[in-house]
């Protein structure tokens, strides 16, 4: 499929068609009739402390019986209004976590058309809804329509404005003792991205013996991202981002036999990555006429020689012998194709057995045909003043998976279940690059291009390239290949028994076998020009022009087989008609692990209970415990995640009041033996092979979560809501850099909310909501800006039920 066709399809503006259709259908302006029942919700109930103006959906004061017109029962609601927001503190943290600004909003809109006789021309039922338009960071549009046995269609468009700037992320934590002192106030990896996701699915003849499925998804991630690159020092890059993924789907199902369905699905995914990177800023100057802009990077720790011991001279200009960037650019448009085929079946042809199976094959290809990278500056370690890299890369992912499951109903009470999965993927990758480098001693030195004419024997002239003993090859041709493979088989065998109508249990055994292979090979043809042509060309002859060429090969491989066994059990009891208990556990053992933090032993326990003493009271509780271990030599990994929760909901049928309460205590812990380098070394650290020191990577996080909301309806036309959510976390972790604060490990996040809804007249409800956001870290700030913020968002709206 050509690129233009892709663009055409993408830009047919399915989203615009949905909006247009919605606008057209909005023309069916109707008036509400007598109040009968509440408007059905749109499919998503949201926490009022996060999505502000709605409140508990069950408390809306409007009732909308709809209007019959054109053979349809039409119900329509719209909520328009505006937000007024103000905040204090860290603006980018506000944008990262909340991002609600002031302005007019189409807060919500919904339209439902239903044909009571199911005799509609194009459709029997149509539902259109959206929220968040006008400036909220998240908005969604959903359209569904269907006609009986002919088809059903669902389309959804979602947009997420993602601002990210948590300033400790990727922060070099420059110490104040550096000269100059350059604190990094924002994360070098900020994001200002918008993700637009459209998904459309059409099912034809959904109730027939032969059924068809068509689907299309369009996912765009666009905006500006900041990144960094390490070349002597770390410079910040700006990265205009455009990643587009299109997914096409076709499927057919056939009921070949009674209670048996055979299915075939074809998928095709195409991803385009069109991001390029350039140097973000040149904030310093090198001496010259006029001064020469240069970037010293974001890392300033002059005591450690970063970017160098004296980056700024007494003249105020940059030290020309320092790591720095004049310019940097990088581009490479990669294209990834994912065709995938899937055949599956389900059968209950035999009353005593349910079968399901699926086989899938896909071969994806990633091509980056033209990679270009240009650097100009100085890398003091190698004396590189510039380099140009060109090349191409490719990778494939071949995946074969097979699933088969059977449930045998031995009797009405006893079932045997077996579930087998085979999963094999392999990813070969290859990279061919050529790098040409130029060398000079300082930023102000002009690098010499090698030429036999300007660099004659004895190859020491000042017009020769000025290498140091640690200079890399002048010309590097590199062929690198990588291979990753995992083959996995898992079989789960379970017995399920219903002791009585009120209690049942299951017990089972799971066996898992994994083989992981990871290998690399590298062949480098390195050419060294004079001066110092033999600097890394040991044993090779010097050519007549003074150059030296060598081939360096390397290879590495890892093979990790893992066999794992699990015992799984569970009990479920409906103790009384009002009390339910569920308990399940998994005990896992593996003889190996691929990573140091993957468990070799695992225990999971989950207990859930619900109690409904009366219809309008719902009490529930839960305990969830996960314990992981990898106690192999040198690793000492211990982890747990324990959660204890309770919740209570009171919602009397009269709808005059309601209360919703919940509390959770979460205990997260991890420790792992590590070897690291740090100077000065922490007190008590032991050597694990100089200069490495032993330590325990400790992470402990204890979190309390409380949430409560109340609604009151003292009169039919008035509803008031009040809510509060608080998350309070304390913790500790190993901190190796003295400048690093505990940051997100100790914080409080308060989210009170209040709202009033008053039915001004039939079909018109005035609503106002107040949300407060208070994020505070109880730790020192670190060599950057405080991350705390507080903010208010008041939303005022009118809700119509037309």
């Amino acid at each position: 499929m050509t690129r233009m066709t892709h663009s055409l399809i993408s830009h047919i503006s399915c989203r615009a068609a949905m909006v247009f259709l919605g606008a057209l259908l909005c023309g069916f302006a109707v008036t509400a009739q007598s109040i009968v029942e509440l408007q059905p919700t749109t499919g998503v109930s949201v926490d009022p402390t996060r999505k502000s103006p709605v409140g508990l959906t069950s408390t809306t004061t409007e009732d909308n019986g709809g209007l019959s017109t054109g053979g349809y029962l039409v119900k329509q609601t719209a909520e328009v209004g505006g937000r007024i927001s103000d905040f204090s503190g860290n603006e980018l943290m506000w944008d990262t976590l909340v991002n609600l600004g002031s302005g007019v909003r189409l807060l919500e809109y919904s339209l439902n058309l239903h044909s009571p006789t199911h005799g509609g021309f194009l459709f029997d039922d149509l539902s259109f809804s959206n929220f968040g338009y006008g400036g909220d960071p998240n908005d969604l549009t959903r359209l569904r329509f269907s006609k009986g046995k002919l088809y059903n269609f669902e389309g959804i468009f979602r947009r997420d404005r993602n601002v990210f700037d948590y300033n400790l992320l990727a922060n070099p934590l420059n110490p104040a003792t550096s000269v100059p002192d350059v604190p990094i106030l924002n994360s070098p990896h900020q994001l200002f991205l918008t993700r637009r996701m459209s998904d459309y699915n059409l099912n034809l003849f959904p109730l027939s013996i032969v059924r068809f499925r068509l689907g299309y998804s369009h996912n765009i991630q666009q905006g500006t991202a900041f990144s960094s690159v390490h070349e002597g020092t770390e410079a910040q890059l700006v990265q205009p981002t455009l990643n587009i993924t299109d997914n096409y789907h076709f499927g057919v199902s056939v009921r070949a036999l009674p209670r048996t369905s055979l299915n075939y699905d074809q998928f095709y995914t195409f991803t385009k990555g069109d991001s390029a990177s350039t140097l973000y800023a040149l904030p310093y100057n090198l001496a010259g006429t006029p001064p020469i802009p240069v970037d010293l990077g974001v890392s300033f720790n002059t005591a450690a020689g970063q970017p160098c011991a004296t980056p700024i001279l007494g003249t105020g200009f940059v030290n020309p012998a320092c790591n720095a960037f004049f310019s940097y650019s990088r581009s490479g448009r990669n294209r990834v194709q994912f065709p995938a085929e899937q055949a599956s079946f389900q059968s209950s042809y035999f009353p005593w057995m349910d079968l399901a199976g699926r086989f899938s094959y896909s071969k994806s290809e990633n091509d980056l045909p033209a990679y270009d990278e240009l650097f100009s500056g100085l890398i003091t370690r190698t004396r590189q003043r510039s380099y140009a890299t060109t090349g191409s890369s490719s990778a494939e992912r071949l995946s074969v998976t097979g699933d088969f499951a059977a449930t045998i109903h031995v009797s009405d009470r006893f079932r045997i279940v077996d579930d087998f999965r085979y999963d094999n993927f392999r990813i070969p990758g290859a990279w061919l690059l050529t790098t040409n480098s130029l060398f000079a001693a300082t930023l102000l030195s002009t690098p010499n291009v090698f030429s036999p004419a300007t660099c004659p024997p004895p190859f020491t002239a000042a017009t020769c390239p000025q290498h140091s003993a640690s200079s890399s090859a002048d010309v590097l041709a590199d062929a690198f290949s990588d291979f990753l493979r995992q083959e996995r088989q898992v079989n789960t065998f379970e017995l399920e028994y219903d002791f009585t109508r009120r209690i049942n249990a299951f017990a089972g055994y799971r066996y898992e076998n994994r083989d992981i292979t990871d290998s690399t090979s590298d062949v480098q043809l390195q050419t060294f020009y004079p001066t110092l042509a033999t600097r890394a060309c040991t044993g090779q002859p010097i050519q007549s022009d003074g150059s030296c060429t060598t081939t360096v090969t390397s290879a590495d491989g890892t093979y990790v087989p893992i066999q794992a066994h699990s015992l799984i059990t569970g009990v479920s009891a409906r103790v009384t008609d009002t009390l339910r208990l569920r308990f399940d556990t998994e005990l896992y053992y593996a003889d190996n692990a691929f990573t140091r933090i993957s468990p070799r032993h695992l225990q999971r326990y989950r207990l859930r209970t619900t109690y409904k003493p009366v219809d309008w009271v719902n009490l529930s509780g839960g305990i969830s415990i996960l314990e992981n271990r990898n106690t192999a030599l040198d690793i000492g990994n211990l982890q747990h995640n324990r959660s204890y929760s309770i919740a209570a909901e009171f919602a009397p049928h009269e709808g005059k009041w309601g209360v919703d309460l919940s509390y959770d205590y979460n205990d997260i812990f991890s420790q792992t033996n590590i070897c690291y380098v740090a100077t000065p070394s922490p007190a008590g650290a032991l050597s694990c092979g100089a200069p490495f020191l032993t330590g325990i990577s400790l992470y402990a996080e204890k979190s309390h979560f409380g949430s409560g909301s109340v609604f009151l309806r003292p009169m039919r036309k008035l509803t008031a809501t009040l809510g509060y959510t608080v998350t309070s976390t304390d913790g500790s972790t190993l901190i190796l850099n003295p400048g690093a604060p505990s940051g997100p490990l100790t914080f409080r996040y308060h989210l009170p909310v209040a709202g009033i809804a008053y039915e001004v007249s039939k079909g018109f409800t005035f609503k106002t909501n107040w949300n407060y956001y208070d994020y505070k870290e109880n730790s020192d700030v670190g060599p950057t800006l405080p991350r705390n913020f507080r903010g208010n968002v008041v939303t005022v709206s009118i809700r119509y039920a037309l």
Binding site: D47, S393, T500, I674
Partner: protein, 327 residues
């Protein structure tokens, strides 16, 4: 030590509750069960539909007493069972209208509305009630694994989440919208989505069912997958899917959850650790049996090297650098 005390206590508590259930069934309940069995109303897990047309009265008859429920039923997708013609290859009164789910109604009508002569979902077990639903809804990948699902295995049946007659949410006839419906049992998940860095579930942008199939599947935690049978995360985060010329192997073998907590985290980028260098060091450290290469000796953690991703930018994989310096 605490967990070793906790486990026996929990086990004893559950066993006690089970014993209570075994011996505490009310006399009325036992009598009702016997009568149902005697009446022939099919309570078995595999629902065998009686095919004798004489046993069926039609939905219009049901409407005479249950008018409100019928009106609600008319507005739902289940009304297609009343349409003419074959229904998924089936034909006959046993597949139509109210009696498609509640079974033949003649005895119930002749008995003056005797509740014991008709199948009611209220007192049915999860297996029994779900068997009725699955008789039509079993096909297609969305529902075909429900019989083996974690939900049904733990006695959570169709009508625990869906309400054919009293749905609060029209689409899929849910009792409650997501995520509140899921939070009702999965209490430990709600606080995770309230942490500062989280997927936008509470905001309504993402639903639990976008990543998990509540009806079960072939993968653990009832997770969905991409079309290429890769982790579900890549459905949205396609730029991380690769394949890359240089893979960060753990991402592909252990999954995104090796480093991230997908629901929500106190840490930025939903990471498991507040200090990124510790997350990296836990794998990339000198050890006798680690597949991951150790950090070099000049990576002094007390200086600038604590920000691993400042240099190793392409941690999910790279097409241009074996050390993941560049994407």
């Amino acid at each position: 030590m605490k967990r070793f005390i906790l486990l026996p206590i929990l086990a004893i508590a559950v066993l006690l509750a089970s014993a209570l259930a075994l011996f505490s069934a009310e006399p009325g309940e036992k009598r009702a069960a016997a009568e149902k069995s005697k009446a022939g109303a099919d309570q078995t897990k595999k629902y065998a539909r009686p095919t004798d047309p004489a046993l069926y009265v039609g939905s219009e008859t049901c409407k005479t007493c249950h008018e409100d429920i019928y009106k609600n039923f008319e507005g739902t997708a289940h009304f297609v069972t009343r349409l003419e013609g074959k229904f998924a290859g089936h034909k006959g009164p046993e597949w139509q209208g109210c009696e498609a789910c509640h079974g033949p109604g003649k005895d119930h009508v002749d008995g003056g509305g005797d509740k014991t002569k008709i199948f009611t979902f209220k007192n049915a077990t999860a297996q029994e009630s779900s068997a009725r639903c699955l008789d039509c809804h079993r096909n297609g990948e969305e529902h075909s694994n429900f019989q083996r699902s974690e939900h049904l295995k733990n006695n959570v049946g169709c009508v625990d989440c869906h309400s054919p007659h009293h749905a609060a949410v029209e689409h899929a006839l849910l009792k409650e919208g997501q995520p509140k419906l899921c939070y009702g049992c999965h209490l430990e998940v709600k606080p995770e989505f309230s942490r500062p860095f989280h997927h936008r579930v509470n905001e309504g942008l993402i639903a639990c069912s976008d990543c998990h199939n509540p009806h079960g599947g072939f993968l653990s935690r009832q997770l969905r997958s991409t079309a290429a049978q890769d982790v579900v995360c890549y459905n949205c985060h396609a730029d991380k899917a690769g394949p890359f010329a240089f893979e960060h192997a753990a991402v592909k073998t252990e999954g995104c959850v090796a480093c991230h907590t997908p629901h929500g985290s106190a840490n930025p980028r939903l990471l498991k650790r507040s200090q990124i260098n510790l997350l990296c060091l836990e794998c990339h450290t000198l050890t006798v049996d680690s597949a991951a290469p150790a950090i070099p000796s000049f990576h002094n953690q007390a200086q600038k090297y604590q920000a691993c991703t400042l240099c190793h930018v392409a941690v999910h994989g790279s097409n241009s650098d074996q050390f993941l310096f560049k994407p």
